[in-house]
């Protein structure tokens, strides 16, 4: 019979200890975690960034990623978007009883790989098991801390008129890859999620300029939503050019089929940077030199008029307002 996670695995007793030792500590080995004290204790100095994120993606495995890698990258990227170098993460599981041990191992393995690539350590964790039906297979929460280098001041409210808007690559792959695996919607596509830790990309960018004004990763709600957030927070308008936004033909095709707009589709390995015009060229060059920024492009600029608005010049030369995502993007009927 296949091994499954049981309610007793979350009880704090022997089975629970076994699970922690065998499944987690071994795979994620590092001295801080191995102590198994109530808290991870470490020294840090400087300006810190601290963030948390819960992950409830369904299905838990999809082309190009899984919930484990997502839980690491999500928090790493949130730290990186503050300009911080991500260092330590916590990892908490809420497991629905009956989850296959093999599936859990696969996810822990992918967490291990992701932490290695992102150069972060899991230093503390928690496991709960809930009754069947109380969770959807597996939920993961991660929190993380990182250090912000001196002289770096990145915030959503720092965009200034004249700044350039740079996008690190093609949009929409993550959302479409996940949708393609949803029950009842399975369609075949070569697309994989763009899921990636962006710490190294941000480090490369900061190496050439400490004047980056805003960084944000266009996750849920897509590019359109985060541009609106930035325009609102900074009280500026953002003008973007549709033709400059890189989108793969497969994403366009899937979006057409489903009646969705790539601008609103989630990404997990992309970022938007708003930088002073003077620094734009060198930041763009640094981005293109990193694996995760190869197809980076300047997609627009910041203006003073119509604060809070995002306006796009369409490929026909006309212009329209881009609003935030409302509700869930739903496939159309006809």
């Amino acid at each position: 019979m296949e091994n499954r996670i049981l309610l007793t695995h979350g009880s704090g007793g022997k089975l629970a200890h076994e699970l922690v030792e065998k499944s987690f500590v071994k795979a994620l080995a590092n001295p801080l975690l191995a102590k198994l004290d109530d808290s991870a204790v470490f020294d840090l100095s400087g300006k810190l960034a601290f963030t948390t994120d819960s992950h409830v993606v369904s299905p838990i495995f999809y082309p190009g990623g899984d919930i484990g890698k997502l839980a690491v990258c999500g928090t790493v990227n949130d730290l990186a978007m503050s300009g911080a170098k991500p260092l330590y993460l916590s990892l908490a599981f809420i497991i629905e009883e009956g989850l296959l041990q093999d599936e859990l191992d696969k996810i822990v393995n992918s967490i291990q790989k992701a932490t290695k690539e992102a150069e972060v350590e899991i230093v503390t964790g928690d496991t709960k098991v809930v009754n069947r039906g109380s969770a959807d297979k597996l939920f993961i929460n991660t929190a993380g801390v990182g250090i912000i280098p001196q002289g770096v001041n990145i915030s959503g409210s720092n965009a200034r008129p004249g700044d350039k808007v740079i996008l690190s690559g093609t949009i929409g792959e993550h959302g479409i890859a996940v949708l393609s695996q949803r029950q009842g919607l399975s369609f075949s596509t070569q697309l994989e999620s763009d899921l990636a830790p962006l710490g190294s990309l941000v480090a490369d960018m900061l190496a050439v300029s400490h004047n980056i004004h805003c960084l944000r990763d266009p996750t849920r709600g897509g590019l359109a939503t985060i541009l609106n957030e930035l325009a609102e927070q900074s009280k500026v308008s953002i003008r973007i050019n549709e033709e400059k936004i890189p989108v793969r033909e497969e994403v366009l095709a899937a979006c057409e089929m489903l009646g969705l707009d790539p601008l609103y589709i989630a990404n997990e390995g992309k970022l938007v940077a708003i930088v002073p015009a003077l620094d734009a060229t060198k930041v763009l060059k640094a981005m293109r030199g990193n694996h995760y920024g190869k197809s980076a492009a300047v997609i627009g600029e910041v203006r003073a008029e119509n604060p809070g608005r995002v306006i796009m010049k369409t490929s026909l030369g006309t212009s329209r307002i881009i609003d935030m995502l409302v509700g869930d993007p739903l496939p159309r009927i006809c």
């Binding site: 009842g184 006309t318 509700g327 009927i333």
Partner: protein, 364 residues
């Protein structure tokens, strides 16, 4: 061939736009019937690019929007019956009926599941033999054949617990109703693309002839729409009224014969209630007698409270093309995509949602 970027090429669009400007002399009003067309027109700011002689109005071609409150109330009432699983396309979830929405019913414990195809609904029926599964048959000629197919398959497999609430609508009778009532004077029709993939171009012939109006079937990319407008303008200027297809890669004059055959086999036309337009004869589809045991309305006796419309909502007028969303006092204030009052704000193909999301024109 690339089927998307190829139909969005800016240099070709520019050519078509200048062609339209060059040809258009007479002031005319054109209606795009289909909500999908409305979305393309707004997404690409096509209205801004057209000459002043052309006025575009949006039609009732959004299946969610035209579903009458009384019919929505029926669906919600069905969801309240114990051991009934409602399966529906996602768009329907948020649409407010007279008193509640399916989303609210779901949150209060009703078993409402979003599916992406009728076959998924059928599968749910197979997996839950002790429950009744009702599929909400909302849509035009585009979705009706897939629902007919699911009924035939249920029949084949002997699945007894699958039922359909057939609220299907047919497009040509609705267009005739709009032209008959004469509230909006139209000089050209952008005929629906996906619907015509199924029904072909022939059903539009009599519309063009009877009402002396140019009819051109369009696809959903910006170049399709511009090509279609250009063809309509050409007909207008020559005083012609013919049916043309600007969507050859999808539409065959005969339509999809297989699809039409199963639709005909399972359904027969019936009168249907349209939001804003009332009852239109022959504009709905009901299950033929042979398949009555699949008909949710006959199997379950539901008597919902009398339907009522939200105060101040002018979705009905908007669907007839008589008013635009900005004429509505609720638009953008009380009624937003987050808190929709009327269905045109809910559906991704609804006019109000397109106006709200894409902001109408926003010239440089």
């Amino acid at each position: 061939m690339r089927f998307i970027t190829e139909f969005r090429r800016p240099e070709l669009a520019e050519g078509l736009i200048s062609q339209i400007h060059h040809k258009s002399k007479t002031a005319v009003r054109l209606m795009e019937f289909c909500g999908g067309h409305t979305v393309t027109i707004f997404r690409y700011g096509i209205r801004q690019a057209l000459p002043k002689t052309l006025e575009m109005v949006s039609g009732p071609g959004c299946p969610v929007c035209v579903t009458a409150n009384a019919d929505l109330d029926k669906a919600i009432a069905l969801s309240q019956i114990p051991d009934v699983i409602i399966t529906t396309f996602g768009d329907m979830l948020k649409v407010p009926g007279s008193y509640s929405s399916l989303q609210e019913a779901k949150a209060s414990g009703a078993d409402v599941r979003v599916v992406y195809s009728t076959m998924d609904a059928l599968k749910i029926a197979e997996e839950n033999p002790d429950k009744s599964v009702v599929f909400l048959g909302i849509g035009f000629e585009t979705t009706a054949p897939t629902i007919a197919a699911s009924i035939l398959m249920a029949q084949d497999k002997g699945i007894q617990n699958y039922h359909v609430l057939s609220l299907h609508k047919l497009c040509p009778p609705a267009i005739r109703a709009i032209l008959d009532c004469g509230e909006v004077r139209l000089q050209g029709l952008i005929c629906p693309g996906h619907v015509s993939v199924i029904i072909g171009s022939h059903p539009w012939e009599s519309v063009a002839r009877d009402y002396n109006i140019p009819c051109v079937i369009s696809g959903f990319e910006p170049l399709d729409i511009l090509q279609c407008i250009s063809m309509l303008v050409a007909q207008v200027e020559k005083g012609e009224s013919r049916v043309e297809i600007a969507y050859r890669r999808g539409v065959h004059p005969e339509g999809n014969r297989e699809a039409l055959k199963i639709m005909e086999q399972v359904f027969e036309p019936c009168p249907a209630q349209w939001r804003g337009m009332g009852e239109i004869p022959g504009s709905g589809l009901k299950l033929r007698g042979k398949y009555r045991h699949f008909d949710a309305e006959l199997v379950f006796s539901i008597v919902p409270e009398p339907a009522c419309e939200p105060e101040g909502c002018i979705c009905g007028d908007i669907l007839r093309g008589v008013k635009t969303p900005t004429d509505c006092l609720l638009f953008g204030k009380v009624c937003t995509p987050e808190h929709p009052v009327g269905p045109c704000m809910v559906s991704s193909e609804g006019s109000c949602s397109a106006y709200y999301l894409y902001g109408g024109s926003f010239g440089e």
